[in-house]
Each structure stands twice: as C-alpha cells, then as structure tokens.
C-alpha cells in the first residue's frame, strides 16, 4: 500500500510543478506585465523602472523560482486592478465556491445514486429509461442556459427564489441545481453500470441464495463494490466543480472565485487569474490523491496489489 501511495504522491508532485509552470507561462503570455503595472500613461523610462522594481527584468526562470518561493510563503502577489493581495481576494471568496460545489455535489449524488441503483435493478423498465433520458438531457443542456431558464421560471414568473446574491441559503438553491445537473449524469451512469456488473456477479447470487433481504443484497453487497469508481468520479467532479463554477457563478452573480476569475480575465488582471488556475489545479490534484487513498482503503485489490 505504501509503495502505491508514494508512487501516486510523486506523480501528483510532478503534475503540481508542471501546472505551476503553465500558470506562470499564462501570466507571461498575457502581455507586457511591466507596462500594465506602470499604467496607460507611463513613459518608456517609467515602464523600465517598474520592470526593475518588480524584478521583471530578471531571467524568466529566476522570476519563476521567486514566484514559487513567495507562493510557498503565502504571497501570491497583488491584483493589478485593486492592488489587494491575491491571497486575500481568494480567501474572501473561496467559501462561496466551496459551499456551492459541495451543495451541487450532494445534490447530484442524492439524485444520481438512488436513480442509478433503481435503474440497474430494473433494466429497461420505465424508470431506467426515464433516468437515462434525464442523463441525456442533463448532459446536453448548456448549464448557463439552464440557470437562465430557472431564473425566468422560479425567480421572475413564480417569484419563489432570489435571482442573485450570496446572503441567504435560498440564494444557493438555483445555482446548486444548475451546477449539480452538470455532474449528475456521469455519476448516475457510472452507478448504473457498476451496479449492473455487481448484480451479475457470483457473490450476489450467493448472497441471494443464502436468503439475504433485497435491501441487504443491494446496499451492503452490491453497492459497496459498485461505488468504488463513483468515489473516484466524485473527487474528480469536485475538482471540476471548483473550476467549472465560473459559468454558474457568473450567471447568478455569486461572488465566488469563479466569478472573481471571470472578472479578472475581463480586466486582464492576470496575477489573479494565474493564482486561481494554479489554486484550482492544486485542489484537484489533492482531491484525486485523497480519492486514490480512499479507494486503496476500500479495495484490497489496489491496497495489496
């Protein structure tokens, strides 16, 4: 087990380093940082002065190591737009995004797993077909559009829910449904396939033969095995949600890091964009590592293999 995990951790570290280099390159691609920092009216001398002040006249690899060194000490630089520290900006908004992502994931799991299990126990029944149809719709729907439709129906016509803001729990209902719908189909399909495979296996026949109740067979024996790939997918989905919430946050004007990233791209405030890209990537890398550990713990074939 330890060998497997060390191997995974090493790959994760390597990927993290690469992602940080890509994030750093993204900032350089965005144009001349010094002239952006110095402002529109700056003269050539002032730009050169700014470049020197911020160390932008040094070789690129030194700038990269400098950036990594500062990042490791909690300094991600300052926003070009508000001049606030990026760590402060992210810290201020990360709560909203995490709350939205976790609520969406819970929403998706609450619908996807029961539906997947029921669909697998009755293949080709109406409920199987209905859940498949739901998955197809969920996959094909542009989620920003779904959000707008929810706003039109529940926010404006029926006036049940507030259409923007972050103050109250009810602000999160429509964004949660919108974002949750985008990850629900994959989880449902995977649960269904996993359950179909599990229900077809010998140990389930044995469990049934020895007279266990249907509930016990389904949930204690079959689901336990079928859930393994779903655990990985859930971790991956959470990482995806953290990065993918940019669209939904923009539709509902939720003040999370996705919305911050979107605004920063519009303002060409690339230090913020770069930090969010690297930050979200690191969350994803960490989540997949954790899911590998959970899987190794749940599945002796991986743990001992």
């Amino acid at each position: 087990m330890s060998r497997f995990l060390i191997h995974r951790a090493l790959i994760a570290l390597l990927v993290a380093i690469t992602v940080s280099i890509i994030g750093f390159t993204l900032l350089r691609l965005s144009g001349d940082l010094a002239s952006a920092l110095a402002g529109d009216t700056a003269t050539q001398a002032q730009i050169a002065n700014t470049a020197h002040l911020y160390g932008l006249d040094r070789p690129l690899y030194i700038q990269y190591f400098d950036w990594v060194w500062k990042a490791l000490h909690g300094d991600l630089g300052r926003s070009l737009f508000t001049n606030e520290p990026v760590t402060f900006l992210i810290g201020q908004r990360i709560g909203v995004t995490v709350q939205l992502s976790i609520m969406s994931l819970v929403f998706a799991l609450l619908i996807a797993i029961p539906l997947g299990v029921v669909a697998a126990t009755r293949p080709n029944s109406w409920i199987d077909r209905a859940s498949l149809g739901l998955a197809v719709l969920g996959q094909g729907m542009p989620n920003f559009w779904f959000g707008l439709i929810l706003i039109i129906v529940f926010g404006v016509s029926l006036r049940w829910l507030p259409i923007s803001g972050t103050d109250h729990f009810s602000n999160f209902i429509m964004p949660t449904i919108t974002l949750g719908t985008s990850v629900m189909p994959a989880i449902m399909r995977l649960t269904r396939t996993g359950m179909l495979d599990a229900l077809d296996s010998d140990y389930i026949r044995t469990a049934r033969a020895k007279g266990l109740s249907t509930g016990s067979v389904l949930f204690k024996h079959a689901l336990r095995n079928a859930i393994l790939p779903v655990v990985s997918l859930t971790a991956v989905s959470l990482g995806f949600l953290l990065g993918g919430s940019v669209i939904v946050e923009s539709v509902f004007a939720l003040n999370g890091i996705g919305f911050l990233a979107f605004q920063s791209i519009l303002r060409t405030d690339f230090p913020v964009v770069q930090s969010i890209v690297v930050f979200v990537s690191f969350c994803y890398i960490l989540l997949t590592l954790v899911s590998d550990m959970i899987n190794a713990y749940l599945d002796p074939r991986i743990r001992l293999g």
């Binding site: 790959i11 719709l137 996959q139 039109i152 991956v236 791209i265």
Partner: protein, 309 residues
C-alpha cells in the same frame, strides 16, 4: 447465431437440382440492419444531417441577412405569440435581425467549432494514445503524466484566459478548444492499443519484420478507429457546449457573428419580457448536442462486435 461462412445446401430431388444459397449476412448488412433498427442512431443522424444541411444552405433558405439591422423591426415576438408575424417565424432580436436566420447561420459556428475542435483533439489524443499504448514503459508514463496535467488544469478557465490573449475568432476558439480537450482520446486509444498489441496478428506482423510505424498505422489504428469516432462525437458535443458558454460569457465568439451562446447572452437583457430570445438558441444547442451524443452512442452500438453491447 448465424454463421459468417457461406453455406451451400444442395437439395437433390428426382427431377432438376435446385441450388439454394443460404447466405449469412455480411458485416455490412449486419451494421445496416442494426443502424435501421436503432432509434437513437436514426434520431441523432437525422438531426445532425439536417443541421449540417441547414448550415450549408442557410443563404438559400432565408431571405434575410443575419447581420442586417433594422431598428423598426426590433423585438418582434415569434409567430405563435400574440403579436407575432409570419414574416419572422422566430421573431427578431433587439437589433431587428431575423432570429431564425441568425439561428441558421449560428449552426455554422457551432458545427465548425465542434467539428474542428474534435478533429484537432482527436489527432493529438489518438497519436499520443497510440504511442503510449504501443511502446509502454517510460513513454507510456510520459503520456499518462500529460493526461494528469491536462486533467488538473481547470479547462474553462484556461480556455477563457487563452481566448482573452489570442482573440475570439472562430479559428482561435476552435484551436484553443482542440488543444485543450484531448485527454479522453488518449485514455481510450491507449487502452485499446494495449489490448491490440498483444494480439496474434500484431505478433505476426512483428515477426514478418513490419516497421513499428506500419504496425501502429496498419494493424492497431483500424481497431481503435470506431472508438475514436465515438469519442469524437462526444468531444464535438462538449466543444459546442463550451463554445456556447464562452461566447455567453462574452469571451468567445465576438459580435456580430451569430453564435448560439452569444445570442443567449444578447437575449439575456430582454429575457424577462421576451423569454424566446433566450429559450430558442438554448433549445437549438440542447437538440444538436443531444443528437450528436445519440449518434455517437448509436455508432458504438452498431459497430460493436456481435453479441457485445
């Protein structure tokens, strides 16, 4: 199960000899039969084909110019609404442009970007998957490491930043999406290649002394091809959705090009009074994406070897 071999049964009777050929269906006939009895495939193929035709023939199908603004004709509701007019079946937008015309020309943008991005991603992903799966060892490790890096990056955020840097033309959006969404091609191609490279005919080809390039292209690639088509259809659908999202955020295709995502974004300001401005392009995206997904699933079912689903 019918045998693939061709059986000849000769029935000899006192008078003339009848030769009856009992012909087992050829693989092509099996595929055709499966295709014609597969509702998902038929639905998907029809919609996709119709969309392609509409996109190609848009100038013949509509008398209007998708860019021509006419402020005296602005915000006419669709024909089924109370104040609708037969002159504009789906009404007009805030600039007085015919909405159906914009929708038809918008199909061009969606299809071009979807197809182009899937093709670019397919070429990158399939080559890397073939190389990783065939050579294994450290080459494979490098390929998988690339996949891990790609998966870790938040795709939409990176796409948004790149488009902001390189501009939002149809060409650059296609290129950026193609360069960002190749991971699924790698994963699938790689695993099929791993299975294929230990097959007897590959060993035989190696024994005959065929070059690696020839084995990869001649023996392995044909086995991967139908998987690639399925993934390509999925990625085409994803690219269409992402393009719509980027354009909706104002960081994809730039106005006045008619893109469905951009149309939703422009309609958003009027959505409380004219909800069709948002509903119509959204439904168009939904129908096209669902159709492409069904077409892909259908191709997978149809080309699957006998007895497998």
């Amino acid at each position: 199960m019918t045998s693939i071999e061709r059986d000849r049964v000769i029935i000899s009777s006192p008078a003339p000899t009848y030769e009856i050929e009992i012909e087992a269906p050829s693989p092509h006939m099996i595929m055709r039969r499966r295709a014609l009895t597969h509702p998902g495939f038929l639905f998907g193929a029809t919609i996709v084909l119709a969309t392609v035709l509409i996109a190609l023939c848009a100038p013949l199908l509509t008398p209007y110019d998708p860019y021509a603004q006419d402020l005296s004709q602005r915000l006419i509701p669709p024909v089924w609404a109370l104040k609708g007019s037969w002159a504009h079946l789906l009404g007009t937008d805030a600039m007085g442009r015919d909405y159906l015309t914009r929708l038809m020309y918008g199909a061009r943008v969606s299809l071009t970007i979807g197809f182009g991005a899937a093709a670019i991603a397919g070429i990158i992903g399939t080559s890397l998957g073939l190389i990783g799966g065939y050579f294994g060892g450290w080459v494979d490790s490098v390929v998988m490491y690339l996949v891990n890096v790609k998966l870790a990056l938040p795709g939409i955020l990176v796409a948004l930043s790149l488009i902001e840097v390189f501009g939002g033309s149809v060409f650059s959006v296609t290129l950026i999406l193609g360069v960002l969404f190749w991971d699924r091609f790698i994963v699938v191609t790689r695993s099929v290649t791993q299975q294929t490279r230990v097959a007897d005919y590959v060993t035989a080809a190696e024994a005959v002394g065929a070059s690696r390039l020839r084995i990869i292209l001649g023996e392995v690639l044909p086995n991967v091809l139908n998987h690639i088509i399925v993934i390509a259809s999925l990625e085409m659908a994803v690219a269409i959705l992402v393009e719509a999202a980027l354009s909706f955020l104002g960081l994809g295709i730039r106005p006045p090009t008619p893109s469905w995502g951009l149309m939703i974004s422009e309609g958003r300001n009027f959505m409380f009074f004219q909800p069709y401005l948002v509903a119509v392009p959204g439904i168009a995206i939904l129908v096209l994406v669902v159709a492409i997904n069904m077409l892909g699933d259908g191709i997978r079912d149809i080309t699957a070897p006998e007895g497998r689903n």
